[in-house]
């Protein structure tokens, strides 16, 4: 038996998504840009997916564009805004705990002459709207912050920050990387005051290789990929209709149960934390009020990667830090005040509402055993 507890890295595609993708490949393979009926049929399926996903974030479907995934969406947000507004405004403000697709892109823009300000959590490990407002000025073109941190599950104060920043500097474009929040927490663009958000399909039981970006009407974005003017020229390249159909199917399935699943996940998180309470050497790195879907723990003195492989040998899959960085430490934990041996031994358990208590038990047992057996 294998216990998959790495759902923040990727999720298992749901049946509906697989079926939708296969159906598009078998029957509805037209190019949505073709003028004939076969093209129109493909476009209609894509339009429906677009509408489902746009509705799920409280947006108009004309503001949603498909991309190859959230990394591309984040790149498009940062590079696109820098391209459109960066001639006069050379400053970008981001949080210091962003995913690499934001952080590295910001660094790349730094080499092109942009000033990047990274706002860190305070000593209490939390972030405050006022710190972001103070970091922004008239020269700032973009503020980018994620909603849920992928390593600890910490929920950033996006709504308050964006509202406060918009009040003081209405022209700053606000971008939110919602990858770990979408379909887990309510994500509504108007309520969040977000001008741009990025989401990904494979984190919500869709298929890898597709994501989306919401861009508020009136916000200009210089495309990163140019070509045949698909997606209203925002993202050229023939749309991957099978993956998009799968994305729509997954979103349609999950949307009605966001709050219900959140409660289930909360129950699972507290069950796990309860079980871990008495385990020797284990400390919890995630904040209590973080997303219940991500639980970061350390078995002190046992290095993450070794422990990960030990757990693997017991059939339990977790991640060390963020899976995208292939085991490299990202420095995000340090930003939250988790340093030294505790950071070296951090493990990320990420669940879905479908995770079971016996699965969590299996993890806890394996962790206990690992703590005994693994040295260094």
């Amino acid at each position: 038996m294998s216990v998959y507890l790495d759902n923040a890295a990727t999720t298992k595609p749901c049946e509906e998504a697989v079926e939708a993708a296969v159906k598009m490949m078998r029957e509805n393979y037209g190019n949505p840009s073709s003028l004939h009926r076969s093209g129109l049929d493909a476009q209609l399926v894509m339009d429906k997916a677009r509408k489902v996903i746009a509705d799920s974030i409280g947006a108009d479907s004309s503001c949603l564009y498909f991309t190859s995934g959230a990394t591309e969406s984040n790149n498009l947000a940062l590079r696109g805004i820098a391209g459109a507004y960066g001639k006069r405004k050379k400053k970008i403000v981001i949080s210091s705990v962003e995913h690499a697709s934001v952080d590295e892109t910001a660094s790349a823009l730094e080499t092109q002459g942009f000033e990047v300000v990274r706002v860190s959590p305070r000593d209490d490990g939390r972030m405050y709207a006022a710190d972001f407002v103070n970091a922004c000025d008239e020269n700032t073109c973009l503020l980018s912050m994620m909603l849920v941190n992928n390593e600890t599950g910490y929920i950033l104060p996006v709504k308050d920050t964006f509202a406060a920043v918009k009040r003081r500097f209405p022209d700053i474009v606000t971008h939110c990387d919602c990858v770990q929040a979408y379909m887990k927490l309510p994500v509504k663009v108007t309520a969040m005051n977000a001008d741009i958000i990025s989401i990904s399909a494979h984190k919500i039981h869709g298929v890898k290789g597709v994501g989306a970006i919401y861009i508020k009407k009136g916000v200009r974005v210089t495309p990163v990929i140019t070509g045949g003017k698909q997606e209203k020229s925002i993202r050229s390249g023939t749309e991957s209709t099978p993956l998009i159909a799968a994305f729509g199917a997954a979103a349609e399935k999950l949307l009605p149960t966001v709050s219900e699943r959140y409660k289930t996940a909360e129950g699972l998180k507290s069950y796990l934390l309860d079980k871990l309470k008495d385990v020797e050497g284990v400390s919890v790195n995630s904040p209590e009020d973080g997303s219940p879907y991500v639980i970061n723990v350390s078995a002190e003195g046992r290095r993450s990667e070794i422990m990960l492989h030990f757990l693997e040998s017991k059939g339990v899959y977790v991640s060390s830090g963020s899976a995208c960085s292939k085991g490299q430490q990202s420095g995000v934990l340090g930003e939250f005040g988790i340093t030294g041996k505790r950071a070296d031994s951090a493990l990320r358990v990420s669940i879905t509402a479908g995770t079971t208590q016996p699965e969590l038990d299996a993890f806890v047992e394996a962790l206990k055993e690992g703590y005994e057996k693994v040295r260094g």
Partner: protein, 392 residues
């Protein structure tokens, strides 16, 4: 802390004995529009409607977004509900306005005391609350002329309300309060704007569209359906009629002089529209025409078109420039759809040199040279209807 949405009536507040009818219509429209978001209690008093969400999970920004597109409303705002007690008003204000005032530099307080039994007078409330807020947020300063934030306190019948933003409503009259009319929807920029403008005056819209396959494509029809969908945000549900028009257009081309093609086509469109309007109990037709915009929209051409109409034809864009129409189209979010480049029925067989000042007698003579009636009847019979509901 309880937060609600306050809705201030537009010109219907000035209505006399039939005000209640307008109020009921507006309440019904609001309830229908908010239904997908959850449960609400709507009550009205003193020309204000109180929208009270019954579930904490309801996002008020979405409520404001939706209600902002409902006609009949002058202004709306999110407000915090307080006891009619000054201390409670202060305490709730601290909490409710923390984020707004925490990030502002200047503010002022505005008080409206419609319940005269409240012991403090309006200027007193302004002064006292202003003082308290200054104590609580020492970084602020008062600016009565150009404040960043205006804190408004309203002392009303049952409660007091505190809010810090007033959002302009859509204006006009509640949709449905003026009856029904049939909009000729081509897919261009003007006709959706015309429909929106009449809906603003309380008119419930049905739409009619003419298709000419293979000269027009499925995508062209889809585009018009998308426009209908966009309009439902403002106009409520729309019955959409799609008329097969190919044979009539071919008949005009084969039997009438080329220079009259567009005018005769428009006369036939009007004829079909009013037959369907009669079935739908529509009292008028609406078009997006603007005088002088194209050859078929000169005064002489409009006179020739109007000669076949037995019910009023409203042309709300008649005195507007294209740029003014585009401005509205952008505001109501139909522009991007309208400019999608698909051939529509109006551009099929367009004459090279259309008659700019046609004479009615010439047009009638040309039209009478062929018996269009059987084809008109056939088109009406084969018309397909689709309904677009709110939020579909």
């Amino acid at each position: 802390m309880k937060e609600i949405v306050l809705v201030k009536y537009g010109e219907m507040a000035l209505k006399g004995l039939n005000k209640k009818t307008f109020e009921d219509m507006l309440t019904k429209n609001i309830k229908r529009r908010l239904k997908p978001l959850g449960k609400f209690v709507c009550t009205s008093a003193q020309s204000t409607l109180y929208i009270d969400p019954q579930d904490d999970a309801i996002e008020l920004s979405e409520v404001v977004d939706r209600v902002g597109k409902i006609f009949g409303i002058a202004a709306l705002c999110r407000a915090c509900v307080c006891e009619k007690d000054f201390d409670d008003i202060c305490n709730k204000s601290y909490e409710y306005l923390e984020n707004v005032l925490g990030c502002a530099k200047t503010f002022k307080v505005n008080a409206k005391r419609s319940d005269k039994a409240f012991p403090m007078k309006s200027p007193e409330i302004c002064m006292e609350l202003g003082g308290k807020l200054l104590e609580k947020f020492p970084h602020l300063s008062v600016d009565v002329k150009n404040p960043e934030v205006t804190v408004t306190v309203e002392i009303r019948d049952t409660n007091a309300y505190v809010h810090a933003e007033n959002i302009k409503g859509a204006g006009g009259l509640p949709v449905g309060s003026s009856g029904k009319a049939m909009l000729l929807l081509s897919g261009g920029i003007d006709s959706p704007v015309a429909g929106w403008m009449m809906a603003k005056r309380g008119v419930h819209i049905s739409a009619i569209h003419y298709v000419s396959p293979p000269y027009t494509s499925d995508r062209a029809q889809l585009k018009v359906e998308q426009l209908c969908e966009k309009l439902t945000d403002w106009c409520g549900g729309i019955a959409f009629y799609c008329v097969p028009f190919t044979e009539l257009q071919e008949a005009i081309k084969d039997n009438c002089p080329e220079e009259f093609f567009t005018i005769i086509m428009r006369r036939l469109m009007m004829e079909i529209a009013q037959r369907i309007a009669a079935k739908e109990k529509c009292l008028a037709l609406i078009t997006g025409e603007s005088v002088g915009q194209v050859a078929s929209q000169t005064m002489a051409a409009i006179a020739c078109t109007d000669a076949v109409c037995r019910i009023p034809v409203f042309r709300p864009c008649v005195g507007m420039d294209k740029t003014e129409i585009i401005e509205i189209a952008r505001k109501i979010d139909t522009f991007d759809t309208s400019v999608l480049p698909y051939e529509d029925c109006c551009t099929v067989f367009t004459p090279r040199h259309p008659k700019v000042r046609p004479r009615l007698a010439d047009i009638e003579k040309a039209q009478n040279s062929f018996d269009f009636e059987p084809l008109i009847q056939e088109a009406v019979e084969n018309t397909e209807m689709k309904t677009f509901n709110l939020g579909d």
